[in-house]
Subunit: 331 residues, 2 copies
DNA sequence: CCCCGAACCGAGAGCGCTCTCTTTCAGATC
DNA sequence: GATCTGAAAGAGAGCGCTCTCGGTTCGGGG
């Protein structure tokens, strides 16, 4: 009843273990005739190699970890991003016959678990989804010699390969769109400044404004809907005459939209509004939200490519992909 | 530079491999003093057990597979369902220190891959998300002796543990709600009849109607938005006087909503509409969709429990969880 | 004082595989 | 016909761990 071993197959085919191993691993130095005998024995016994034994000697596991490092509350704030990344990574790895081990590292305990797991040699590489610049995990993983690719630029201190979308460029495009439609007083609701995305999108906003001669009007949120509403109220108080807002993500934009309506401003007639991310809900707001879309699929693909390319063969250690402005009705 | 082994730790602590193993695995038959020496050696060397070697002898891997068996196009038709299941399963497994290996089996090739992977002893158990009744995968996995729990009742032929929501009851609740709000001609847009969900929800509809003395009006869709619109048009043609529709899922309900509007019917004034699933988009329709929500979190939790309970200790091999009617504005 | 059992530690086998090294043997060469 | 060559198959070590089994120590009872 237990699973057949190499030994059993060898016995049945009347050859040695080594020969069966050669056949199973597709080496060419086996006489076709013997090869056939072995293959027949394999299928008769239903032999499947034992992965533990194999990776004990090869030092490979043919699986990679997809680590999501986020505080529990925010993990799936964007389900679609998550599922698209997973789907893309999965199909991308399929061709190289590798598996995905999914790990959610929300708590410090979770982090420790991830580190232990990775360092026990369970995986050949790590894809790290961490939006938080101050996250200690990238550095920790990097230290233990496993190939790691990060989704989003990691904190400056660490030098590890990453894929990111063009936050600066995307924010710039949003602001330029507002400028080109004749808006004059363009405010921003920035994201938390301890996150790379928050920083870069603010930079993009500032750069674009500097090139015109508008002054910047900034409020800071924390990427949540409520903080977007708060920030919007404050902006209206500071500058009641503003006629456009760029929010650093869609959640905050949705909060801002609500606050604007409550303050009696029409969108886009009185105030134009642009978000960032193009989450699913952005298409359902009233009016539908103009926003900046990250090329999620391309990013995921790039991550896998980067991870599977041996460090010495790499021409670059990071890839920045362009974001796309999706124009709907809010601006 | 390479990772330290048990041997190295043993040498440093001045004990045998066996003793270190005992300490690492938390056995009590070790003198506290020696235990401390060993633990010190472990942390000094940064020792982490090699998982391949361990599972080669223990025959355990401490990871379980989450297999999503769906045609590629439909896999993530509901991102939220997917991510909630993943999150719940993940945190549920955390306490027993197991990992999730994620496998998407969309193509026949994918199925074959999954089977090979599972049968190579890579995982201790399988959680199977398969909505398609005719799927051959449940049976195949069941055959190879790995514990499997299915999300959704599998095809009748297979006898494997599963967790499901109360499709019949949920559909019944939807219909009774329509009856109680005074609707008289209640139609349904049924799902595909080769899927368990499609069958059961139709049964629930029929049962509820039979208990009143209304006659049933049925059109069949395939769970897509377009098929919902088609079915709705046909229903209106068959019975222009209908005043309520129960759609077997939200996607079809959204399609139906569009068709109704195009036909000049007001929802809910002229025609009341109820969906099923409570996908994210259901909250954003105009009017927001009344629907039946599956208790996703509870289902995921139940699956894990079922999987981790040894077959002989089980009191039941399936768990049916109640669905909840979410009343919004469409009915 | 000796013996016996309990408690603890070490020796060693073995999990199933890969891979190097050696052996074998057919065919080529002189 | 003896020697050489190279390709193909086998022998055997060893990956890092667990676990059984046997040995050692120590305290307490006869």
């Amino acid at each position: 009843m237990k699973r057949p071993t190499l030994e059993a197959v060898a016995a049945r085919a009347g050859v040695s273990r080594a020969t069966v191993s050669r056949v199973v691993n597709g080496q060419s130095t086996v006489t076709p005739e013997i090869r056939d005998t072995v293959l027949r024995a394999v299928s008769e016994l239903g032999y499947v190699p034992n992965s533990a034994a194999r990776s004990l000697v090869t030092q490979r596991t043919d699986s990679i970890a997809l680590v999501i490092s986020e505080p529990a509350t925010r993990v799936f704030s964007d389900d679609r991003l998550f599922s698209m990344v997973v789907r893309t990574v999965s199909s991308e790895l399929e061709s190289s016959d590798k598996q995905i081990v999914l790990m959610l590292a929300s708590s410090p305990r979770g982090h420790e678990r991830v580190e232990r797991y990775i360092s026990s040699g369970h995986v050949d590489g790590v894809l790290l989804l961490s939006m938080h610049g101050a996250d200690p995990l990238p550095a920790a993983l990097n230290r233990m010699g496993v190939p790691v690719v990060s989704y989003g630029r990691p904190a400056v201190a660490v030098a590890l390969p990453y894929v990111d979308n063009d936050n600066v460029g995307g924010a710039g495009a949003a602001v330029r769109h507002l400028l080109s439609t004749g808006r004059r007083r363009i405010a921003t609701i920035a994201g938390p400044q301890d996150m790379i995305g928050g920083q870069d999108r603010l930079t993009g906003y500032r750069d674009a404004l500097r090139n015109s001669d508008r002054r910047s009007i900034v409020a800071v949120g924390d990427f949540t809907r409520a903080s977007g509403a708060d920030a919007m109220r404050q902006l209206l108080e500071d500058d009641p005459a503003l006629d456009a807002v760029f929010a650093a993500n869609d959640e905050m934009a949705i909060g801002a939209l609500r606050a604007l309506r409550r303050a009696g401003r029409r969108v886009p007639d009185d105030v134009a509004l642009v978000g960032f991310d193009d989450i699913e809900a952005a298409a359902y707001t009233d009016p539908p939200l103009t926003t900046v879309r990250q090329p999620i699929t391309e990013q995921a693909t790039a991550m896998v490519r980067l991870l599977l390319t041996p460090a010495k063969d790499r021409t670059t250690d990071h890839i920045i992909l362009p974001s796309e402005l999706v124009i709907r009705e809010s601006a």
